[in-house]
């Protein structure tokens, strides 16, 4: 970890490549960045570390011209600059590589790289390809300039994106979670290239929440916590524990009422489920846990660690290996729900409710009104060939009344409601089915504090009714105060299941970012190399 070459840099009295001073950015009520400072020098790699929603990407988007800061100043090479568009950013020699690639699928690498450029002279793809080869050779990329994007692996696409900004002469590179989509081997290659670029004097900012990457790659770390600077440290002088502590921040008390579970019964037994995506990457690995009635099981983890696939597997939307056993309280039977469709699951008499994270995609139909959305769960009822609209209508009105949904009427398309009200409609509908298992993925994402508490209250109420609640959350404070037990998952594996009454934020934060075996090895190899 302590490479002597790394520690020399910061003492130099040179002008920083980029300096941010007191940057603040608000989105409506939400403060995404609050008085953030940051400095990077040429020939340095800076990591920006923070949890989901801590404002890392927002901050970088302000440097790359996508957002404009409400307050604060940006200096490039000591000069104050105003960056209002990606073009301005390029003029300042800033290039950002986004998490989602912006590439045209049927174009070659070269065509994508020169897209939008107005170079002098005749348009020649051959000459451009030559320059792409030069850049590749200089920094150690492996790229065929004439390969089509749709034939490329994710890592090759990322290479195209990086070369794209280098081709435009960027001196300051910002990479937004570049390793999220890469295999360990590809990550190592990327890091090697980034070190080459650092050594040739580029300033590099990398956004990440993987601690071992921060420690093995960067020279300096700036930690953001809830939109604020939590500190800047030299990588060589820090360790995982200190960074985690800075990242999760101090504990906040929320005063959510938490009752003791009343005679919990094992309701849902998940045994050894695994699944892979189409590319063959493992998304879930041997996940086993039990959800009990009258209990809230919190699920904590970095976004994209497999939470979505896990819930979809239980809901019957995702094919997995393993077993998902459901203990039916009425018949006392045990059924395997694996690979059954949602309709089959319902026909088994399983009352399963699912509040997906994608409210207006998977949860509700935006263009339909509240009554129609409520009816999506009950349209099979009734014998007549016409739809039974009375019951759903009164249910919709009940949801509006009980959950205080702010809407002109039950006939308003849900798309026109605010996020909090959309979520109330969705949760209200799912709860109305009086479920025995209720799964909620990020149910308070984007909601204000009052709406959030309404949702917490509803989940607690379900728990008291004896429902087994599975709650996927991102705010550790909430998870700690709402759940009875917390299962922490990291890269598709269970990192541990802890008692929420005794666990601490730091403990969970460390488990979330804990390296799995594979990653420890490559992390170690990176340090050695």
């Amino acid at each position: 970890m302590s490479e002597p070459t790394v520690t020399e840099k910061p003492e130099k009295p040179e002008i920083p490549a980029i300096r941010l001073e007191h940057i603040t950015k608000r989105f409506g009520e939400v403060v995404a960045n609050d008085d953030v400072n940051l400095t990077v020098y040429h020939g340095q790699i800076l990591s920006i570390l923070g949890e989901n929603g801590s404002g890392k990407t927002t901050l970088m988007n302000m440097i790359s011209g996508i957002y404009f800061p409400d307050h604060g100043k940006i200096y490039v090479d000591g000069q104050e600059v105003v960056i209002r568009s990606p073009k301005d950013a390029f003029q300042c020699k800033i290039g950002m590589i986004h998490q989602h690639f912006k590439l045209v699928d049927i174009f070659t690498a070269t065509e994508n790289i020169v897209l939008g450029l107005n170079e002098k002279g005749r348009f020649s793809l051959r000459r451009a390809a030559e320059r792409v080869r030069e850049i590749s050779a200089k920094y150690g990329f492996e790229l065929d300039p004439n390969k089509k994007i749709y034939e490329m692996s994710v890592s090759e696409k990322q290479t195209v994106e990086i070369i794209k900004v280098l081709y435009r002469g960027a001196d300051i590179l910002i990479l937004d979670e570049p390793t999220a989509v890469l295999t360990p081997q590809e990550t190592q290659k990327l890091f090697a290239v980034l070190r080459n670029m650092r050594d040739s004097g580029k300033a590099i900012i990398i956004i990440t929440h993987k601690l071992h990457e921060v420690l093995s790659l960067s020279d300096q770390v700036t930690v953001l916590c809830k939109g604020k600077n939590a500190g800047t440290v030299q990588t060589a002088e820090t360790n995982e524990e200190q960074l985690t502590e800075m990242m999760v921040g101090r504990k906040v008390t929320l005063n959510i009422d938490r009752s003791e579970p009343v005679n919990p019964v094992d309701r849902l037994m998940v045994q050894g489920i695994s699944c892979k995506n189409r590319e063959g990457t493992e998304l879930l690995h041997d996940i086993s846990f039990t959800a009990r009635s009258g209990e809230i099981l919190g699920i904590a983890g970095i976004a994209g660690s497999g939470q979505r696939e896990l819930l979809e597997a239980i809901a019957g939307l995702q094919h997995v290996d393993g077993q998902i056993l459901y203990h039916n309280p009425k018949t006392d039977q045990i059924d395997d729900l694996r690979d059954k469709t949602p309709v089959q699951i319902r026909e088994l008499g399983v009352r399963l409710s699912f509040v997906p994270e994608d409210r207006l995609g998977m949860g509700l139909v935006g263009n339909m009104d509240i009554v129609d959305n409520v009816m999506l769960r009950s349209y099979r009822k009734g014998k007549s060939i016409f739809l039974e609209r009375k019951a759903p209508k009164s249910l919709a009105e009940k949801i509006i009344r009980d959950l205080e949904v702010v809407t002109p009427s039950a006939a308003t398309p849900v798309r026109r409601l605010s996020g909090g009200n959309v979520q109330k409609v969705l949760v209200g509908r799912e709860i109305a089915a009086s479920p025995t298992v209720l799964m909620a993925a990020y149910p308070v994402r984007g909601l204000d504090i009052n709406a959030s508490f309404t949702i917490y209250h509803l989940l607690n109420e379900q728990k008291e009714h004896g429902t087994a609640v599975i709650f996927v959350g991102e705010d550790l404070d909430v998870l700690l105060e709402l759940s009875d037990r917390i299962m922490v998952i990291s890269s598709g594996r269970i990192a541990g299941i802890v008692d929420a009454r005794t666990a601490t934020k730091e403990q969970i934060g460390l488990m979330m970012t804990k390296n799995t075996k594979v990653q420890t090895q490559e992390g170690g190899a990176a340090d050695a190399g």
Binding site: K102, V104, I106, G116
Partner: protein
């Protein structure tokens, strides 16, 4: 001898389709699915007719250059305006492209028939058709030595300037699309406008230009039909379903105007092959007229099964582009 005249007629049938499909390809490359092409070709035709009619009424001795330029200009102006309406509705107001296009087709056919009818009235004719043989003669001027060159001359050299222009335009369009910066950027807009936008390309502007230029090219197909193919006789609904054939040809040519050149002759041939088969009754003729569409459907099945990325329509075809706001 029959084969020679068949091929010559096939080319003449194909030229309006070639104009239409080249125009539609340019438009579709920007991501705009312009189903208004049949209407636009109609407007292109009637525009030329109006220009020629007014000029013929104005003077008795036609100046050959003006007799060509006036109808040409009127035709281009008409189809340009149609393209402008389409762009304004779909790009600026983000209206649904299919609905807008179909509305324009209905509108264009209506305009054509309306003005066709009124001009016929002005000319004092009983039937809704206008005779512009004088103007047509200038349009149909062709290479005089063609007759001496036998079958070769008849097939390849007997055509008018608009026919060669169609082929030239198709070749130029092909080159621009695949070998120039503008073409690359236009294709990027149709494939992935968000990426194009991020690369600093003015997406809306490209869509406007491509649609209007495409409409003008397509409109020339209508002009060719009236002035060359129909010998300057405009009759209402005479243009038939050639506009739809042009759109089918776009698929057949896998969005490449150079393939469209051969495709148009093939389609033209299939369209008239029934006239060269003896003893066909009316129902048989209609079955034969179906051939181009059958070929297109079969072709669609084949290219969909092959799943070759380059043979697919532009990825963002038919979809409006919103810059993400937040």
């Amino acid at each position: 001898m029959m084969l020679v005249s068949f091929l010559q007629r096939a080319i003449m049938q194909g030229i309006p389709l070639l104009y239409g499909s080249t125009g539609e390809i340019v438009t579709e490359k920007s991501g705009n699915l312009n189903l208004g092409i049949p209407g636009i070709m109609y407007v292109g035709g009637i525009g030329g007719v109006i220009g020629a009619f007014l000029y013929e009424q104005h003077t008795d001795s036609l100046n050959p250059v003006l007799a060509v330029l006036i109808p040409l200009f009127c035709s281009m102006l008409g189809s340009f305006l149609m393209g402008l309406i389409y762009s304004f509705l779909t790009v600026t107001l983000r209206a649904n492209q299919n609905v807008t296009g179909l509305a324009l087709t209905t509108f264009g056919v209506g305009i054509g028939n309306f003005f066709g009818g009124s001009l016929a009235k002005l000319a004092g004719s009983d039937i809704p058709s206008i005779n512009l043989t004088k103007t047509s003669k200038y349009f149909r001027t062709s290479f005089s030595g063609a007759k001496d060159l036998g079958w070769f001359g008849q097939i390849f050299l007997s055509h008018s300037f608009l026919a060669y222009a169609a082929i030239l335009i198709a070749i130029i369009t092909s080159f621009v699309l695949s070998h120039t910066r503008v073409g690359l950027q236009l294709r990027a807009v149709g494939e992935n406008p968000a990426t194009a936008d991020a690369a600093g390309i003015r997406v809306g502007r490209y869509k406007y230009f491509a649609t209007c230029i495409g409409s003008v090219i397509a409109g020339l197909g209508g002009l060719y039909y009236v002035m060359d193919y129909a010998n300057g006789v405009w009759s209402n609904d005479g243009f038939g379903d050639r506009g739809w054939l042009a759109i089918a040809l776009v698929i057949f040519a896998v969005w490449r105007p150079n393939i469209s050149i051969f495709g148009s002759i093939l389609f033209g041939g299939l369209y008239i092959v029934h006239m060269y088969i003896q003893n066909l009754d009316v129902s048989g003729q209609e079955l034969f007229k179906m051939l181009p569409y059958v070929v297109t459907i079969l072709f669609l099945i084949v290219i969909s099964m092959r799943r070759k990325k380059e043979a697919q329509p532009p990825a963002h075809l038919g979809l409006p582009y919103f810059r993400e706001e937040r």
